[in-house]
């Protein structure tokens, strides 16, 4: 009996290793799972289809206007003119939450229903290693998917259209990638919370996708509804009343994470944007470029503009993850 493997002595090494081992296993599970491929294909299609239709427009413009700066970022901003498809960042903004929910909705409750949770927790790891590891694994998976999608779009731009990113564009794109990962991690944390609170994975998935639908599709409706209730204006009589109503609905809108993400994306990807709305057609794009002759925002200025948005997203993520964490720590091991 030579196989008398002794347990490693306790120490600092043991403290930090727990969540990493969990994360490593979960990451391997995610990457080899069917849902990973499905979502990769969905997101890939979401990125490639608008790009394909928009590519002709972009190419013609790019060859005409050689002095147009930051045309590479147009890959992410321009939507095709003849097909009703949103541009890449809007599409990612709507589809990416699916990723987050999909990789977390069954994180804890499936361990519970499969009977693996008591076994996992009886190993010498802390209880929070399980949540932390699962969150980290989800984050890594999502980052991988997003990196792949951005890589595909960039590659498409470089090879098919022959446009090469400048250093500034790479910085902006990286910043947008970080923002998008943050945006998805909010949904990941939300999915994790659902998986802790709701015992059945199917129910958790339904609730998760329901909330996603509510925010993505009906968000605007809810905002005008709430604005109407808070400040009912009969016919928006004076200009001031109309203005205050708009200001109010913008404020309420900014409570929605989707708005935060889309506004921040627009600013980060488009150096000409100093406000909320972004150009959606290549014509507008050119217009904006011309309007903003010589006064493009530098990256740090753009970053400053979206800083509150980023902080708000981080806060929302922290609240969701914190709630999942505390709830899980207080839960009984047995149902």
């Amino acid at each position: 009996m030579s196989a008398q493997a002794r347990v490693a002595p306790s120490g600092l090494e043991g403290r930090s290793a727990g969540w990493r081992i969990v994360a490593r296993k979960e990451f391997a599970d995610h990457v080899s799972s069917a849902r990973f491929f499905v979502l990769l294909v969905v997101l890939g299609a979401a990125a490639i289809v608008p790009l394909y239709f928009a590519s002709d427009t972009i190419r013609s413009v790019a060859s005409q206007v050689t002095d147009t700066r930051d045309v590479f970022l147009a890959l992410f901003l321009v939507s095709p003119q003849d097909v009703p498809i949103p541009n890449v960042f809007n599409f990612v903004g709507i589809v990416a939450p699916l990723l987050g929910v999909a990789f977390a909705f069954d994180a804890i409750n499936s361990e519970r229903t499969d009977g693996t949770l008591p076994r996992l927790l009886s190993q010498p790891i802390y209880r929070d290693d399980v949540v932390n590891g699962k969150f980290a694994a989800g984050l890594a998976t999502i980052s991988l998917v997003l990196l792949a999608v951005v890589g595909v779009i960039s590659g498409f731009g470089i090879v098919r259209l022959g446009i090469v990113p400048s250093a500034d564009e790479i910085v902006r794109l990286s910043a947008w990638l970080v923002l998008t990962v943050l945006w998805v991690s909010l949904w990941l944390a939300f999915g994790l919370l659902l998986s802790v609170v709701i015992r059945r994975a199917a129910t958790a998935a339904l609730v998760g996708f329901g909330v996603w639908l509510l925010v993505a599709i009906f968000g605007q409706l809810i905002v005008s509804l709430v604005a109407g209730i808070v400040a009912p204006v009969a016919n928006a009589g004076t200009l001031e009343e109309a203005l205050s109503l708009t200001a109010l609905s913008t404020t309420i809108e900014r409570l929605l994470p989707l708005t935060l993400y889309q506004e921040a994306s627009a600013v980060l990807l488009n150096p000409t944007v100093t406000t909320v709305s972004a150009p959606t057609t290549i014509g507008q794009w050119q217009q904006w470029q011309q309007q903003a002759q010589g006064q493009l925002m530098s990256f740090d200025q753009s970053a400053l503009l979206v800083w509150p948005h980023v902080v708000a997203l981080v806060a929302m993520t922290a609240i969701c993850f914190g709630a999942a964490y505390v709830w899980f720590m207080r839960q009984e091991v047995r149902a």
């Binding site: 196989a3 008398q4 493997a5 347990v7 490693a8 296993k25 076994r119 010498p124």
Partner: protein, 356 residues
């Protein structure tokens, strides 16, 4: 009424090799351990002691508090009151060190279905910080012990319930624990498998000096493997001891003898066993059991059974009774358990009446 017999000086059957003094005295000890869920008292002032190198059986119906007790011993649930010491440590305060040295098979154990048995064990090994070099050999070793080597490389969602149970035992053994806690280890394993598992448990105690606490509601199996048992009902331990000790305390005060008698070649019997047996002092009743084809004699008081056996042998010589076997029937844990639980329920009823 729930006084526990003072622990007898244990007959030293085996010595645990290379164990620290705390482990030697009592690897598992609880003092007034209590767990409440709101109004419900799941475990009520439990005093439990499991000695080094013994197999201790925790008996009780579903919901008697067995699993809750086990979870508290592992630090997976915090006790409402009282203390627990496992391998000399407080599991509520130092759960990691306890879990590093205690192997645990949960009730209705599960594995990741999309991984093979070996992969599942590899994950456990990593969580336990086993050295990578030794992991593979150790995994093969524990798989051999539970007889699963042949199926180790198939996905666990193809395993039967019994195979999962075996894999669960392998999983608990992987960290080479000092103490093994098994919650319903033999449930849903086939009878031959049960014998193998029980043999394995015995050999673990014999060869490695492991201490094993197992919970079960399959009393026959517990009886065959456990050195001592504790009877658990409504969160309280109502009796601890060897099966014989418990039989003495909770038994009906009668001993049972099984007598088989050969028939003559012509079919007649030399002497009528029924009248012969019934004629002996202290034999309360004699009955024929067609299943075992033997006579059952109830002896009261139980202490007289030695004398009665002598008398039967004498009768065999004097009156030509062609005796082929004579043995004392082991007290059945099922009966003891039933009587103990009924006695407790009765006592509780009396207490309620007095209180009212």
């Amino acid at each position: 009424m729930t006084d526990i017999a003072p622990p007898r000086p244990s007959r030293r059957r085996r010595s645990a090799p290379a164990a620290d003094p705390a482990t030697l005295t009592a690897p598992i000890r609880t003092r007034a351990l209590t767990k409440r869920y709101g109004e419900l008292v799941a475990v009520d002032t439990l005093d439990l002691e499991v000695r080094a190198g013994e197999i201790f059986g925790l008996l009780g119906q579903n919901g008697a508090g067995k699993t809750t007790t086990i979870l508290m011993l592992l630090g997976l649930t915090e006790p409402t009151g009282g203390t627990a010491r496992v391998v000399g440590l407080d599991p509520a305060r130092r759960p990691l060190e306890v879990k590093r040295r205690v192997g645990y098979l949960p009730d209705a154990v599960g594995f990741y279905g999309d991984l093979t048995g070996r992969e599942n064990l590899r994950y456990t090994a990593r969580l336990n910080g086993l050295a990578a070099a030794e992991t593979e050999a150790q995994i093969t070793h524990v798989l051999e012990q539970v007889g699963l080597v042949g199926r180790a490389d198939t996905r666990t969602d193809t395993y039967s319930r019994g195979m999962l149970q075996r894999l669960g035992i392998a999983d608990a053994l992987l960290k080479n624990p000092d103490v093994l806690i098994l919650d319903e280890p033999t449930t849903s394993i086939d009878p031959i498998g049960v014998v193998e598992i029980l043999d394995l448990l015995r050999s673990l105690v014999r060869d490695r000096g492991m201490t094993i606490l197992l919970s079960s509601h399959l009393l026959g199996q517990v009886q065959s493997v456990c050195d001592r048992v504790g009877i658990f009902a409504s969160g309280r331990l109502i009796g601890v001891g060897t099966v014989a000790e418990l039989a003495e305390r909770f038994g009906d005060g009668a001993a049972h003898l099984v007598v088989t008698v050969a028939t003559e070649e012509d079919g007649s019997e030399s002497a009528d066993p029924a009248t012969t047996l019934a004629g002996i002092d202290n034999v309360e009743s004699v009955s024929w059991d067609p299943v075992s084809a033997a006579w059952h004699a109830a002896v009261r008081p139980a202490e007289a059974s030695g004398k009665v056996r002598e008398e039967i042998l004498r009768a065999a010589v004097d009156r030509g009774l062609r005796l082929t076997s004579l043995r004392v029937m082991e007290p059945s844990l099922d009966d003891i358990y039933r009587i103990a639980v009924a006695g407790m329920a009765h006592a509780a009823g009396v207490a309620t009446e007095v209180g009212a």
